[in-house]
Symmetry: C2
Subunit: 137 residues, 2 copies
DNA sequence: TTATATGCAAAACATTTGCACTTGA
DNA sequence: TCAAGTGCAAATGTTTTGCATATAA
């Protein structure tokens, strides 16, 4: 039986693989967007309906604590999640459609280090979100 | 009677100046930090205790909608507010003490324009938060 | 005068938690 | 076997809202 990336990480971390966690891992692995808890609940129950919202939340917290996924909060009032098997990247949010575009820019990464440095700090992490609209319409 | 900056903006926008709004405007004008609704409630009621939390929320929304203040959501789960009479700036949050340091960097501003541009977007606004710890301790 | 703002308490909303039961290793 | 995970429903914490009353212009 083939294991998805998240399931592999769970095993590697020694997490107990319950039926529910497998389904959540599977859904997350095959998602390339940024779903919130409610949306994940919808996706998982369509595969296996013996999963509660509480378990979704507990599992998301577990995965987040274990560095398996990242928790975002774009300006829509709820948390959204994303696997962390990709390299670090930032987000541009289309405020008309809600679409999220990922990008990475080395210069910006370096500049932030420099700024924190100048202020006497070491960066732990950062959040850069650009809210924008499509050009030339 | 001298009017504070926020009160001036309200008048300029044609907002009705109630007793409550005056007090909230006064508190915000003399705050140079990033208080949340609960904290503002504390500060305003110490001046005039005929202000309800509901009014705080309604007034913050009103001021935000009118571009009089900015709403932030650092990673502590609540909204925090700040006047927008200063120039745009970003935030560095000390994750050990919760202290918020403001900074502005032209290069980063320009870079973001460039990135959005390359992706085919025009920036409406952005959010850059650096979470960091003090160096050499 | 009267449209708008307010206080209060109830509702809304996403998220968390206590507890009895179930399950993975 | 039994520590750890789960479902359910109730609790939480922040923010919003309906409604009767009060107030700014």
């Amino acid at each position: 039986m083939v294991k998805n990336r998240i399931e592999q990480k769970c095993i590697q971390k020694g997490l107990r693989m319950t039926e529910q966690r497998k389904v959540i891992a599977q859904v997350l692995s095959s998602s390339d967007d940024h779903p919130d808890a409610e949306e994940l609940y919808r996706r998982t129950t369509s595969i296996n309906n013996s999963i509660s919202l509480a378990t979704i939340y507990r599992t998301l917290k577990l995965f987040n604590d274990n560095g398996i996924l990242e928790k975002h909060e774009f300006k829509d009032g709820k948390f959204r999640y994303e696997m962390v098997y990709k390299d670090h990247h930032d987000h541009l949010i289309d405020i008309e459609t809600g679409k999220v575009v990922e990008f990475r820019d080395e210069e910006i990464e370096k500049l932030q280090e420099k700024i924190a440095n100048k202020l006497g700090y070491s960066i732990i992490n950062h959040r850069l979100e650009i809210y924008a609209v499509k050009k030339n319409k």
